[in-house]
Amino acid sequence: MLKMLGAALVLAAGAGVGWQLAAALARRPQELRELQGGLALLGTEIRYAATPLALALKRASAAGPAAEQVFGAAARHLPLADGTAAALEAAVRELLVGSSLRPGDVDPLLALAPVLGASDRVDQCRHLALAAERLSVLEAEAQEARRRYTGMYRYLGLLGGAAVALLLS
């Protein structure tokens, strides 16, 4: 009886790990989409309202949890950080810790950091559009990875758990 219970637990753990990995894969394109939404909001604030950066970042954070994690945090860091670039870079580091994004996914944001707020509206919109375009490419890749690997991770988790349970029994 105890053996059966142990095997069930191992099976559940394996399945859980598989589901976790699959969920992370599924979240990644969503988060990349939210970041693009945040950049679009930021672009609107800059282009049409010339909103000061701290407030524009705060408003851009309304695009979703991932956008809140990076743009909201950057807005909070801004008064204390040593410049805009440092504030955005710190926020990006925090984003990587608390999201399903991979290190390469935030490269467009890191490339944006040194130029954000440092030029006229037209130039800012160009940089934001470029960053959004790069995120869009990453999102397409993430969608493809999700389509291909979500099911696989789930099955692998389940089967892996079953294999371990069998080996242990």
Partner: protein, 345 residues
Amino acid sequence: MPETAVRELAGLAPFLPPALRGLCSAPQVLAGRPEEIRMRAGQPLHVVGSQGDGFVTADGQLTLRPEQGLSITAEDIQTAFQLVTRGSVYAWEEELRNGFVTLPGGHRVGVCGRAVVEAGRLTTLRAICGLNYRIAREVPGVARPLVPHLLLNGDLVSTLLVSPPQAGKTTMLRDLVRLASYGAPELGLRPSKVAVVDERSELSGGVGCGSSCDLGPRTDVLDGCPKSTGMVLVVRALSPQLLAVDEIGGEEDARAVLAALQAGVNVLATVHGHDLDDVSRRPGLRRLLGAGAFRRGVRLGRSGGPATVEQIWDLTGGWPSSVRSLLVAALPTDVSLAVSTRRRW
């Protein structure tokens, strides 16, 4: 150490690079009552005060020898520019096109760099290599000696303040606005509703809603609006008794001033120039003077410090037929008396 200088520098400090804040507020620098702090990449930190100018050394002393001054780096300029624009250069495009950014408190930072020109029009400045912090100074009461000469039936008459840059036009205008708004019964001045069209936020020191300078309880400030548009707007919308505007000059400004006068609003305005001869060389102002728009002209100078009244013209009889200088015994400095009449402007 002058307390006011400390207060003024405290307002400016958040916009100076951290490494230079201490130096700019060093006792010897403050003792000279700084009016401008100038930074040029590769050049020493330069401070201009009411008594003269000098270069700030690494230990906070003032020297006349440039080679002993602390050299400003391109990074210092970049840091300062970021602080001045609050990390949002795009939000100051219009201001940068005019070459300056106004800070809270009305301090003005002149910007120098590489101009980007499109179709013959300056679009922005890049590669910033020089900044000039001009410290705005509120001098409550500086206009009191002048008020009695500008009164008619308890109200200030339309007046043109004339001076070269840095002679205290804005300071004088700000105090006239404040006095008109509060009223000064002891001077025979009734309180009035005042509208200020503050295109460059210098008069009010405004950022966002509200002003950081005291302009009185009956004063409305239209901030950041082009003067000519703003004057028409406030006359129509705010029903002021007195309209104040800084640094008029163009034809559009002249038309707006005339429109305000025709609406029964008195106008206090400032203009760059040494005297009325200078001023009248500009077509818009010549038209204003010719139309008898102003009842008084006041020349300000630095002979007794900034905002010293050096001459007052009575323009009541119209222009150019009669120009008379007034004897101003109450004023602290000599004021010239006779001015020739009948000129062709």
